[in-house]
């Protein structure tokens, strides 16, 4: 845990943080609004003393109530991994600014998040499906997308494991269907 990093982040991004800076093991986590993503990550990349040069990962998360985009960054200035969570996107229309202006390599990672969650990255000029076929209409990693042979939906529903982890709301509901907006 890098306490100095915490103070630095709190001072630098006082306006952008939507929650406390959390630290556990070798990770530091900040939460921001999706609208601030480009501004905050550009500052993290460019500012002296922060200099997060490596974008280790970009991933989408469906919490069940809203969508998140999570970035993991590495810098030589701190022994911690930095996790930036862009929180609070509505599930019906999740939108987030694209990071391709800063890290062009984020293009495919954003395509993956779009393919799996339907998160639209505004400014990504190649936002099409990457794994699923082009005529596919669902977003498979969303929480309301059940596996075809999910034992939780089978009669009795007990063979899966010792407990029901994610109870299906409506068995007939299936996956959310949305047409792709580029």
């Amino acid at each position: 845990m890098d306490r100095a990093l915490r103070t630095r982040l709190e001072a630098r991004f006082a306006d952008s943080l939507t929650g406390p800076v959390r630290q556990r093991h070798d990770e530091t986590e900040i939460r921001i609004r999706p609208a601030d993503v480009v501004e905050v990550l550009r500052a993290l990349h460019d500012d002296a003393g922060l200099e997060f040069a490596v974008l280790a990962d970009l991933c989408g998360v469906d919490t069940g109530t809203h969508m998140q985009v999570v970035y993991h960054l590495w810098s030589a200035e701190t022994p911690d991994w930095l996790r930036v969570v862009a929180d609070g996107m509505p599930r019906e229309d999740p939108r987030c600014p694209s990071l391709t202006g800063l890290w062009p390599g984020a293009e495919w990672m954003e395509r993956e998040a779009y393919d799996m969650f339907g998160i639209v990255f505004e400014g990504n000029r190649d936002l099409r499906r990457i794994y699923m076929p082009p005529d596919y209409t669902s977003f498979p990693l969303r929480k309301d997308f059940y596996l075809a042979d999910d034992a939780a939906r089978s009669p009795g529903g007990g063979v899966r494991h010792m407990e029901q982890t994610h109870a299906p709301v409506q068995a007939t509901q299936g996956a959310v269907r949305r047409t792709a907006k580029a």
């Binding site: 993991h72 062009p104 190649d126 794994y131 990693l141």
Partner: protein, 412 residues
């Protein structure tokens, strides 16, 4: 075939006329739907003298099932569009529906060339979620087996590289080397390829006599064998001339494109997770981070040579592991059913192809709420489009092979 007497018969499958109409199994280079994005519209519109060439999806040298649409002007590649997803199995979704122990076998086949590393990052992330301390002997065994597999992966890369450029012999030598290592690992894991060996809190089995005797045997001539392998190709004029100056990648672009592993080190950036963000017992071990590539960045030959440099470093690490191996337990004490407290954890390891990471979210049940797998090859495949511009078609394979992507990990 219809005969004049009979009005109609079902057509025979041998009828060539049917096969002509059959569209199944044929790939149109241009998609049969309007372009979805700006980039797609730009790529699929041809200027004067340009045409499309479809490669794959079963091209033997793409290290898996990849399809690439090339836009060419004569022999020159103007642009290219990789089409992924032929190996997509939805591993992340499967992981979200399996319990923590089961996940180790789900992630194993992701990158089948170095599957111990595919287990390592998820296991490390779960250990963080559970606040488990891994016994030192287990950590040493992990490093030992991991570095062995890194050698095997890099040696196999060498053969693959030559095969993609049309040289058949080196892959045969690579497989001799790889076979010795996987047989060795099979002695402790019981498997030759998908080891399923790391456990949350340790490893599955202790080192045994067969493993140690095979390893001792191999170590006694590993350095010499490595010298011989270097001699196989490094002085081959055709090989060197086909690689030098092709696919040049400079340090700044490599960082912006999210590259890692040997590919970024060949461009002169000394970023190695083992040193940049130390994990396991790597801080206690002595080894160098080889880099290559001068001011102009690294080309395909640099990426090839860098992997050979890393093999000698791995042999050094294996030697130290054998000398420093402590006694003690190989598993932490843990309940059978794991229910980590709600929380989030990210762990990354240096796999033979670069930074391989796992982000796991626990909601307090026995299955992760979300598990993201970051594969380095996925990012590196993006580089092909960048590096291939204005090169020859025949060099596509040289550049792609020098980035060493494995489709199993890319498609997840």
């Amino acid at each position: 075939m219809t005969t004049p007497g009979k009005p109609h018969q079902h057509p025979s499958a041998d009828d060539p006329r049917i096969m002509l109409d059959d569209q199944i199994g044929q790939f149109e280079a241009v998609p049969p739907y309007p372009p979805r994005t700006e980039r797609e519209a730009e790529f699929y519109s041809l200027r004067d003298g340009e045409m499309f060439l479809n490669m794959g999806p079963q091209h033997p040298s793409t290290h898996g099932v990849l399809r690439v649409v090339l836009k060419i002007n004569g022999e020159q590649v103007v642009d290219l569009d990789p089409v992924l997803g032929y190996l997509h199995r939805g591993v992340e979704k499967l992981c979200e529906n399996s319990d923590y122990h089961h996940i180790i076998s789900q992630v194993d086949p992701l990158e089948y060339v170095s599957s111990l590393f595919m287990e390592w990052a998820p296991v490390m992330a779960f250990e963080k979620l559970l606040d488990v301390e891994v016994p030192r002997r287990a950590e040493y065994i992990r490093v030992l087996t991991g570095e062995l597999l890194r050698v095997s992966s890099h040696v196999l890369f060498q053969g693959w590289m030559a095969l993609d450029l049309g040289g058949l012999a080196p892959i045969l030598y690579s497989f001799i080397e790889r076979d010795e290592i996987v047989e060795m690992l099979a002695a402790i894991t019981g498997q030759r390829m998908l080891f399923n060996y790391f456990r949350i809190g340790g490893v599955n089995g202790d080192l045994n006599h067969e493993f140690m005797s095979r390893l001792g045997d191999w170590m006694s001539r590993a350095a010499k064998q490595h010298e011989a392998n270097i001699g196989l190709l490094n002085e081959n004029e055709i090989f060197v001339r086909r690689m030098r100056g092709i696919g040049r990648l400079d340090a700044a672009t490599a960082l912006r494109m999210g590259a890692s592993g040997p590919n970024i080190r060949a461009s002169g950036v000394p970023f190695d997770v083992r040193r940049a963000h130390p994990y396991s017992v790597y801080p206690e071990l002595e080894f160098d981070i080889p880099t290559r590539g001068g001011n102009g960045g690294g080309d395909s030959l640099d990426r090839y040579l860098l992997r050979l440099d890393e093999v000698s470093q791995s042999i050094r690490i294996i030697d130290q592991c054998l000398h420093n191996m402590p006694d003690g337990p190989i598993m932490a004490r843990l309940p059978r059913l794991l229910r980590p407290r709600p929380g989030r954890a990210w762990a990354a390891v240096e796999a033979p192809r670069g930074l391989y990471g796992t982000y796991a979210i626990s909601d307090g049940t026995d299955q992760p709420f979300r598990m993201k797998i970051h594969d380095p090859s996925f990012v590196h495949l993006q580089l092909v489009g960048l590096l291939m511009k204005n090169n020859l078609i025949a060099d596509t394979m040289a550049v792609m092979a020098s980035l060493d992507p494995v489709m199993g990990g890319i498609d997840k």
